[in-house]
């Protein structure tokens, strides 16, 4: 391999911060540069809560209670702790770059192209796959609404995936042909994105209120049927079960990083970033734990497995009447819709940024003159996510999302340590406290959760990384915008 030195320098080349800033610059940057810091700590906390809740608490108990038993409460705490550690590390890396971006763009500017591409592969799992996972969960609640309102739900063949986890891989054998509502949801959201839909900060606040409202309602009703006996035995599968569940549950904290990316947009990031991260984390974790405790208090652990639209069903069984379950299911349908929209949006924009950097074909960054949105990119994402949502069961999707997210955050936490050594003088808007203990703790805890995931997840992840690696070597490396002009690039 005569190319080895060139390959290494390609892997390590970094995108200049000025170039990143130019890519992201707004209309009137020169004149109004200092007006940009507009996000208040309260708003930022709301962003954190808004993007986190909805990615899983409505569905995840079904999968995790059978693994951990009532000790799933502890799993939530563990996952929350890990999410907090990683979010703090991420905040430091984000604050080194004066523009707000994704962890892909931060990694590109600080750690180099190779790491950035790797992070991007993980982010596609964090966004693309989690969009599919959320859509699958949504379909359960939509079906619940149909069941209550119309008296009967959709045919089972149309609401579940044909593939099932089988040992180390996936095999045919599910009860369904495809998950139709999930496909429709993904396509609807994509259509909105193509038309140029946005969610304003105000709309997010409304969605946060809906989510908090229905979860609080759940807790308030479920607590009336609380029976401590249901919490016994607390840890039927030992601590191993608890940590295994924590790995899956980590998925429900995806979205907390929306706070870290605010970086320079928030006033006084040194103080407000950690405040917002921790405040959002406390709100989210307390709510998750409360929901889990009350749900477990109402229903014996054995009944959680395979329960679609779990929270609504619990309310239905407890109260004997339909309306609380209907309110909850409707709230979930509305708010999870917005979560899917936001997650799909994130995915298209990350791919857009990569294409802009030359790592993906031009198709991904063409803006359509009629809709003024990247239509081709959105369509490709929609097709892939819809296919995955249609055919792959949600348990696999959750684990893959957790895998991608945890690995991405491990890279980020490692990056924080590396950068303290290689770029000690680079200004940082926010520094992680208790350095180097906190980043190391973050890496170890991520590693630990990753080690508890299913072997099947490892296989899928490995396949994905190989595809990504081949693509990088075959295409991205040569077409990167950082490639010296006059070689292969146009």
């Amino acid at each position: 391999m005569t190319e080895t030195p060139a390959l290494l320098s390609r892997l390590l080349r970094k995108k200049p911060v000025e170039l990143l800033a130019r890519d992201m610059s707004g209309a009137e940057d020169a004149a109004h540069k200092h007006l940009k810091r507009g996000i208040t700590p309260f708003q930022l906390t709301m962003f954190g809560v808004g993007s986190t809740i909805g990615t899983g608490i409505f569905f995840v108990l079904r999968e995790t209670v059978p693994t951990a038993g009532p000790a799933v409460i502890v799993s939530f705490l563990i996952a929350g702790l890990v999410a907090g550690l990683t979010a703090l590390c991420y905040a430091e890396m984000a604050s080194m770059i004066p523009v707000s971006g994704s962890s892909y763009s931060y990694a590109y500017a600080t750690l180099g192209e190779g790491v950035a591409f790797f992070v991007a592969c993980c982010l596609i799992l964090e966004y693309g796959i989690s969009a599919a996972a959320v859509a699958v969960g949504w379909s359960g609640y939509l079906n619940k609404v149909f069941e209550i309102v119309l008296g009967s739900g959709l045919p089972a063949r149309l609401i579940s995936a044909p593939l099932v986890p089988d040992g180390n891989g996936l095999a045919l054998g599910g009860d369904g042909i495809l998950n139709l509502p999930a496909v429709i949801l993904v396509l609807l959201c994509s259509l909105l994105l193509i038309r140029g839909a946005t969610e304003s900060a105000k709309a997010n606040a409304i969605m946060v209120m809906i989510k908090l409202g229905i979860l609080v309602m759940f807790v308030a009703i479920a607590v009336t049927g609380f029976s401590a006996e249901n919490l016994q035995p607390f840890m039927p599968h030992g601590f191993g079960g608890v940590t295994a569940a924590a790995g899956t549950i980590f998925f429900t904290y995806v979205g907390l990083d929306a706070v870290s990316t605010a970086g320079e947009e928030v006033e006084n990031p040194k103080r407000n970033l950690p405040i917002a991260i921790i405040a959002a984390l406390i709100i989210v974790t307390s709510l998750y734990v409360l929901v889990a405790v009350t749900a477990l208090g109402v229903q014996p652990a054995a009944e959680f497995g395979g329960q679609e639209a779990g929270l609504a069903t619990i309310l239905q069984n407890l109260t004997g009447s339909d309306w609380p379950a209907l309110v909850l299911a409707c709230g979930a349908v509305i708010s999870v819709f917005s979560v899917t929209l936001v997650v799909l949006y994130g995915q298209t924009r990350i791919l857009f940024a990569m294409a802009r950097d030359g790592l993906l074909p031009e198709l991904f960054y063409r803006v359509n003159p009629h809709t003024l949105s990247p239509v081709a990119c959105t369509v490709v994402v929609a097709i892939f996510v819809a296919l995955i949502a249609a055919f792959v069961p949600d348990a696999v999707l959750w684990e893959l999302t957790s895998m991608g997210t945890l690995v991405a955050f491990m890279v980020v936490s490692t990056g924080v340590i590396v950068l303290r050594h290689t770029r000690p003088d680079m200004p940082r808007g926010y520094r992680v406290p208790f350095y180097p203990v906190l980043p190391i703790l973050s890496i170890i805890s991520c590693l630990y959760l990753v080690s508890k995931l299913n072997p099947a997840t490892y296989q899928l992840f490995a396949v994905w990384l190989v595809i990504g690696g081949v693509f990088y070597l075959a295409y991205s490396m040569r077409h990167s915008r950082l490639e010296p002009a006059g070689k292969d690039t146009p």
Partner: protein, 293 residues
Amino acid sequence: MKVLVGYSADSGGSEALALGLQMARAGSGSLVVCTIVPETWGHPSMARVDAEYARFLDQHAQKALEKARIQVGGKVPAVYLCRAAAAAREGLLEVAEQESADCVVLGSARAAPRDHIRTGSVNTGFLHTAPVPIALAPRGYAPEPSVKLCRITCAVSPAAQSMQTARTAHQLCARLGVPLRLLTFVVRDRQMYPTGAGYDAENLVANQWRAQASEGQGRMIATLPKEPGVTSVIADGKTWKAAFESVAWKSGEILAVGSSNLGPLMRVFLGSNATKIVRHATIPCLILPRQEA
């Protein structure tokens, strides 16, 4: 160039006439000022009440046209017409066809804020059926009498049918003897909250759009004839309003937009982007019908 002004004896009428006058003067053209009155019942009634009504309408129209005559003041050759029709739109279309007008000028609906254009019952109907360009005067449009039409700015995008719009606008410029300016809007009003892709993610898309837009403008300028001169500009802002304000406008300038490609051929039909542009414009707008590409 023959400009047909849909005139009424109110401020909307005089705004439309002011714009029509400006256009007619630029191309040494002529004006057709037309007032539409309601059609009376065709059959004479016993007491001839309808004749009385018809007489009243006629007087009213003549009074209106007299007012228009004063406003025109002999600056351009003008014809004054009164037409009875069931709907203003119908009458105007008929006159436009008979007089083979090159352009129809209408006022804005009165619901518009000052200096803006809104479509009301008359001009909306017209916008959906007109086979000729329609100019709309913003509410409160009262240019100095000395102001002449000095430039046409044409809103374009890199889409294929925009080229046709630019060509039509360019031909119009040649007839009026004014330069053309190509304008593309970059409006940064779409950021999604919250997002893990960064709170500036939409700027990335907008900047790419900006690059595509100037590329497209360059291509258009290269294909258009050299005379009259063509320049280009990009309106970039956080909102439509800010984008509009980011560009310098001359008094006596009009903004041309093309019809949506969803509408039938040779007809005017505003698309969603064109509607936004017209809504936010603070200068007269000229809506061009879709031509065969």
